[in-house]
């Protein structure tokens, strides 16, 4: 956690971003009005974020859709200018020293590729090396390092268009660390990937953090990313920090639940289901919440199978929205309505 004696590499204070968008009423009249006298709507995307990240930390920035995760990352990397507040990344001001900062940080934004589609990854690596102004000898050495680190030797000379998504993502990551960034920002690195690719990306991230001591700041709305990777989780909602805690705390308090969706062909012995926490049930389908602290998934699965003829079953993590709701409840706070930030003056800080 941030408490340890490490060098701070990211610091923000009261970071805010307000977007102003034009609103238009319906119909022709609305269009004309919007031209003559445009009306604006303000969106508070980030609503006063105080954050400190230490060197070498692997932090997850979590939150539901529209929480302000991407906006925060964009501010930290110099893409967006904050409406107000202070920030410093590696001692630099991203707003004024964007180019200097760009040599020292790396970023992977969802599925935005930086590899040339028709060329093998090596060509893109060489080009990125030049863009980051690395000497040839340094770049050669670095390329062999990342090949080793991410295990991409076998397909490094194959055109990107012929790579599988997993292979491509590996190369994508390799490309983003050629210049040895001290911090790497990952915006939804696992979004849209299947389970296996997701897993391999998580491994890469963890390897990068351990072996190169790179500070990693990633956003996600996938609890799995966090559970397996990070030491610290910052959860935001409507642009504010809801909680900032170690993964251990979070895991014990909130992540210990799974959802089992089960669909029966025939439910022969419904009595077997007694005592299960059925949160939703419709016909022969039901949704069951399991608290792994108290119950074992395996035992429950056995009971479910004894209860009838199962057609389909999936086990998933409980959704982020639910966790956030629970955190609000446990802190005795009102959950804000979607869209508008809470008016209340309480400062949701770091639980110490």
């Amino acid at each position: 956690m941030a408490g340890c004696v490490t060098e701070t590499v990211i610091r923000t204070e009261g970071l805010r971003k307000v977007f102003r968008t034009k609103t238009k009423k319906e119909g022709l009249k609305g269009s004309v009005r919007a031209l003559v006298k445009p009306e604006y709507r303000e969106i508070q995307a980030v609503h006063g974020i105080d954050l400190e990240v230490g060197k070498g930390e692997l932090t997850a920035f979590l939150g539901p859709n529209g929480a302000g995760k991407s906006t925060t990352i964009k501010m930290l990397t110099g893409i967006l200018h904050p409406t107000s507040g202070e920030m410093s990344v590696l001692g630099l001001d991203p707003r004024k020293q964007r180019t200097a900062l760009s040599f020292r940080i790396g970023s992977v934004f969802g599925q935005k590729s930086q590899l040339w589609f028709h060329l093998p990854p090596t060509d893109s690596f060489r080009l990125l090396g030049a863009i980051y102004e690395l000497d040839k000898a340094v770049l050669d050495k670095r390329i062999s390092e990342v090949i080793e680190l991410f295990d991409i030797k076998d397909f490094i000379d194959t055109p990107v268009r012929k790579l599988s998504l997993g292979q491509r993502m590996r190369c994508e990551f390799a490309a983003s660390i050629l210049h040895r960034p001290e911090i790497i920002f990952l915006d939804e690195p696992t979004i849209g990937l299947d389970v296996i690719v997701k897993q391999s990306i998580r491994e890469l991230i963890s390897r990068l953090n351990k072996e190169e001591k790179t500070t990693i700041f990633l956003t996600s709305h996938d609890i799995g990313d966090v559970e397996q990777l990070c030491s610290r989780a910052v959860i935001i909602n409507h642009g504010r920090i809801v909680t900032d805690s170690s993964i251990k705390e979070l895991k014990y308090g909130y992540l210990n639940r799974k959802i089992i969706d089960v669909k029966y062909g025939a439910l022969t012995d419904a009595g077997r289901l007694d005592g299960l926490n059925i949160v939703k049930s419709k016909g022969a389908s039901m949704k069951i919440e399991v608290d792994e602290k108290k119950e074992s998934i395996q035992e429950i699965m056995v009971r479910l199978m004894q209860a009838g003829n199962i057609l389909d079953v999936t086990i998933s993590d409980i959704p982020m929205e639910k966790i956030i709701g629970d955190i609000y409840r446990d802190k005795g706070l009102e959950e804000p309505d979607a869209g508008i930030g809470p008016k209340s003056s309480q400062q949701e800080g770091k639980p110490e």
């Binding site: 906006t71 893409i79 967006l80 970023s107 060509d123 080009l127 030049a130 863009i131």
Partner: protein, 263 residues
């Protein structure tokens, strides 16, 4: 040094990438041959039926047309790629890379242009030669100026496209601007030499930037004189520089808007 090196490498990478599109390649050169062939037929028919062709013989007309066509067909897809980057939000992620966006686009565009020129130029020269023989009254000493003019024409075309592409920062649909610019440069230079246009229109056309894409180099080649050269090159240089500066300015102001409003 390192500053320039990165852009040269962008161009090299772009050349290699564009060479990978073999299908586009063959289709492109086929189109080129077809277009030239149709126009050559057309002009020959016109000049036979009507002797007056504003000092252009069939031979010179064909060479005019080939030069203009080489310039116009060897263009990059900068308008489309800029539109996609700006609309799709990709441009935001280029802001935090250590390079100039416009220079990057230019280097990438030059790569595309070089690949197209490698095909179109020899093909065009060959077609012209087979069809009407060498250009009448061609003088080797005119070559450096003609090549410079071809290069400027291509660059002007690039920067005009980039400039229009950059308006995507402000408007949802800028393809109308692009369409108009395309049509104007077609009418003022590619369709026929400006000399064929009615006097007033011609006088206006020579003032407009559109004529300095295709008309300028084609005219310079087919009616070379020091006087023509001095009429054409400085204006061409001026317009190219103007649109280069305007593109950069538009980009900077678009990037500032992006910093504040997001993608």
């Amino acid at each position: 040094m390192k500053g320039l090196h990165k852009y040269l490498l962008v161009t090299r990478t772009s050349i290699r990438s564009n060479l990978a599109y073999t299908a586009d390649f063959i289709a492109g050169s086929f189109f080129f041959v077809l277009v030239i062939f149709i126009f050559m037929q057309l002009w020959q028919a016109i000049s036979i039926s009507d002797g007056s062709t504003e000092g252009y013989t069939v031979n010179r007309l064909v060479w005019y047309y080939i030069t203009a066509e080489i310039v116009v067909l060897s263009k990059s897809s900068v308008f489309r790629s800029m539109n996609e980057e700006i609309r799709g939000g990709g441009v935001a992620y280029k802001l935090n890379k250590p390079y100039s966006f416009v220079m990057y686009q230019l280097s990438d565009g030059i790569g595309q242009i070089i690949v197209k020129l490698i095909i179109n130029a020899p093909l065009g020269l060959l077609l012209g030669y087979l069809y009407v023989g060498g250009l009448e009254g061609f003088r080797w000493e005119s070559l450096p100026a003609v090549i410079l003019s071809v290069v400027l024409g291509i660059l002007l075309n690039f920067f005009m496209d980039a400039f229009i592409g950059m308006t995507a920062f402000w408007t949802e649909d800028n393809s109308a601007f692009y369409w108009i610019a395309q049509k104007l440069s077609f009418i003022f230079g590619l369709l026929m030499p400006l000399e064929f246009l009615p006097g007033v229109i011609k006088n206006i056309a020579v003032l407009l930037p559109f004529s300095y894409i295709a008309y300028a180099p084609a005219r310079l080649l087919t009616s070379f004189s020091v006087g023509t050269m001095l009429d054409i090159l400085p204006v061409q240089l001026f317009y190219t520089a103007l649109f280069a500066v305007l593109s950069q300015m538009l980009y900077l102001s678009g990037a500032k808007k992006l910093n504040i409003n997001g993608g």
